[in-house]
């Protein structure tokens, strides 16, 4: 039996508008989630999603059914986000190793925060830390891959990740201390 996604993809290769809409409806929610993680705001994420889907429709013939289709479109979204980020922000790199993250200090985290609240924390990171943290911690890229992808050294990638973890941990702690003070439960 032919995978329905395969039919949709073939329809998109023929520039069939119905197939294009089906593809969008199937993946837009998931990809919008990806875009939100790499963006400062929902508006920016919408722009990335828009540009990313245009690229997908334009280049879909290159997919060739090799590997996961979801992985392919996710990669395009991530690259689109990185491209936008490069064009939009002046970014600095922190290459010293002053920020060594201590993994043990985050052991007391609970699952009480909602995904949306966690998303807000990621969006508050500076663009540079957000990119590296997303690529390493969430997408699963290695420092070597990140250094190739972003054309930075592995050392820069590692120190940016360390710094991002510290910031996120502090924000999570701060969140809990506020909720304890106000007595709010999540």
């Amino acid at each position: 039996m032919v995978d329905p996604v395969e039919n949709i993809i073939k329809g998109c290769c023929r520039k069939d508008p119905r197939a294009q809409k089906m593809l969008y409806e199937r993946y837009s929610g998931q990809m919008f989630g990806v875009c939100l993680r790499y963006s400062t705001s929902a508006e920016d994420a919408q722009d990335v999603l828009h540009e990313g889907f245009l690229k997908i429709f334009e280049k879909i013939e290159q997919y060739m059914f090799k590997g996961s289709f979801e992985g392919w479109i996710r990669k395009i979204m991530v690259n689109t986000a990185l491209e936008k980020f490069r064009n939009q922000y002046k970014v600095i790199s922190i290459q010293d190793s002053a920020f060594e993250y201590d993994a043990r200090s985050a052991e007391d985290l609970t699952d009480n925060m909602t995904a949306k609240e966690l998303m807000n924390l990621i969006q508050e990171l500076s663009p540079q830390y957000r990119m590296v943290f997303n690529l390493y911690a969430i997408e699963g890229y290695s420092h070597k891959e990140i250094s190739d992808l972003l054309n930075i050294s592995e050392g820069t990638s590692k120190s940016n990740l360390s710094r991002a973890r510290i910031i996120l941990q502090e924000k999570v702690k701060k969140y809990y201390s506020q909720t304890v003070r106000t007595g709010t439960t999540l």
Binding site: K15, P17, Q20, K21, Y24, S28, G29, Q30, F32, G33, L36, R37, A45, Q46, L49, H50, L54, I56, F57, E58, K59, Q62, W72, I76, N79, T80, E83, R86, N87, Q88, Y89, K90, V91, I92, S93, Y101, A103, A106, L109, D111, M113, A115, L118, M119, I122, F133, Y136, A137, I138, E139, G140, S142, L150, N151, I152, S153, T156, R165, L168, Q169
Partner: protein, 461 residues
């Protein structure tokens, strides 16, 4: 090895599959942009080439029509001035027509008694060397403007049957030679008319017999300028992916070589040879920064960090230099110094090329015109990437991942003009497209193409 920790896991588990429906406006924009792109006429490169060839073929046909008319026009024009235009279609008609000519001749020759009219002048002008030789043999002192009435045209496929016998069965040329002294003027005129027709037929027969007699070899050389660029297809997942056409440009280069050609059939010939060709691309103003994160908002390309030069990723491949590009300006961004600069870069590739070109002659006259199609093997012999600020900085290296063996196809038009019976000059507009990508990077496919105008000279045996 990849390390994991609670923060990473916590965010990953909650956010990796995080989904949120985007606003409807996003799809509306996507849909609108797709329909715009679909409406925009996208002409594949081969269609552009086909259109170009069609245009050239049309021009060639028009040119042929014009040159064809020119061949006959000097004769007909004078003829019309001199006599009512009547065609010599049979010996019966000939009598009437020549009588009219006699009158014309007689009236004009009154001022130069005894002079034989040299009716070969017009033929010589119009039909080249064959008639010229005969013209010399029967030349007289007079260079009158007297012209024969020859409105008949040479048949497309002349045969010996097209030769018109003179009415007294005497060889035409011999009669003409004698005519100045002994024969009456009407004989001269009549025979001249026949002579000219026969000359035209003979010339065509002679030309065709060369082609029909079998193979004929020629050797020559060609050279000329060519504009080269590339057709690029990039996987959007490629690191550093961007719209390269925004920054990169083609460049003017050169091609030339020697060739050998075999006339295989009447209208068909095959050509091969050895050529040199230089192609490439340039970025006239490449703005670069220390690396992707350092490079500032205006930079198109990321290059070196402080430690060692990093490769530049562009459409045709990566290229790295042995030293850092010069820092030209520092910007303070978020308390850090960002270094940017601008250089001119050029990536050039030199090939030795061996073609197999098929030529079909659509026009086979004084000016031969052929449609040429060929396949080429292109062997990389030179690969250079340079960067310079046009002042005191210059660095040279090469582009990585370029294939040594490449294959291209060509289409073109050939214009050949004979200077003598075995020496001709040529002008060949040619379009060449690399059928195989010249790079081995799976993320990008680069197909260079060139537009060239080759001028050449050929000697045939």
């Amino acid at each position: 090895m990849k390390t994991d920790n609670n923060i990473d896991r916590y965010f990953r588990e909650n956010l990796y599959d995080f989904q949120m429906a985007p606003p409807q406006t996003v799809w509306d924009r996507v849909e609108q942009d797709i329909s715009k792109k679909t409406q925009k006429l996208i002409i594949p490169i081969f269609l552009k080439v086909a259109a170009g060839i069609l245009l050239l073929a049309t021009l060639a046909t028009l040119l042929w029509k014009v040159t064809d008319k020119k061949d006959i026009s000097p004769v007909t024009t004078v003829a019309e001035e001199m006599t009512p235009a009547k065609e010599i279609s049979s010996p019966g008609n000939l009598t009437t027509d020549t009588e009219e000519i006699v009158t014309e001749h007689q009236s004009q020759q009154e001022s130069i008694p005894g002079a034989a009219p040299n009716n070969q002048i017009a033929v010589t002008q119009a039909y080249g060397i064959y008639s010229a030789e005969i013209d010399n043999s029967i030349s007289s002192d007079t260079k009158e403007e007297t012209q024969p009435v020859v409105n008949s045209s040479v048949p497309d496929e002349p045969t010996h049957e097209n030769l018109i016998p003179s009415n007294d069965q005497t060889p035409v040329i011999a009669e003409s030679l004698n005519s100045g002294e002994n024969e009456p003027a009407n004989t001269i005129s009549k025979n001249d008319v026949i002579l000219q027709q026969n000359l035209m037929v003979l010339e065509q027969l002679s030309k065709n017999s060369v082609r029909e007699s079998g193979s004929r070899w020629s050797v020559g050389g060609q050279a000329g300028p060519q504009y080269s660029y590339r057709d690029v297809s990039v996987n959007p997942g490629y690191p550093g992916y961007q719209d390269y056409d925004q920054f990169e440009d083609g460049m003017l280069a050169f091609a030339g070589g020697i060739n050998v050609q075999l006339q295989a059939a009447k209208r068909f010939s095959i050509q091969s040879g050895v050529y040199y060709s230089k192609i490439g691309q340039e970025v006239s103003s490449m703005i670069y920064g220390e690396d992707n994160f350092f490079r500032g908002p205006d930079a198109n390309y990321a290059v070196a960090s402080d430690e060692s030069p990093e490769p530049i990723n562009n459409s045709t491949g990566t290229f790295a230099f042995s030293k850092n590009l010069p820092p030209q300006m520092d910007q303070t961004v978020e308390e850090s110094t960002v270094t940017e600069g601008t250089v001119y870069t050029e990536q050039s590739f030199e090939f030795v090329e061996v073609p197999l070109i098929f030529k079909y002659f659509i026009v086979d006259r004084k000016l031969d015109i052929s449609l040429n199609g060929g396949i080429w093997t292109n062997i990389l012999i030179g690969n250079k990437a340079i960067a310079t600020d046009n002042l005191n900085f210059y660095v040279e290296d090469k582009t990585n991942d370029i294939n040594t063996f490449n294959y291209s196809g060509s289409l073109g038009i050939g214009f050949n003009y004979p200077l003598t019976s075995n020496l001709l000059i040529s002008l060949d507009p040619i379009f060449k497209y690399y059928l195989s990508p010249i790079n081995s990077n799976p993320e990008t496919e680069v197909h260079p193409y060139t537009f060239g105008i080759m001028t050449g000279i050929n000697f045939s045996f």
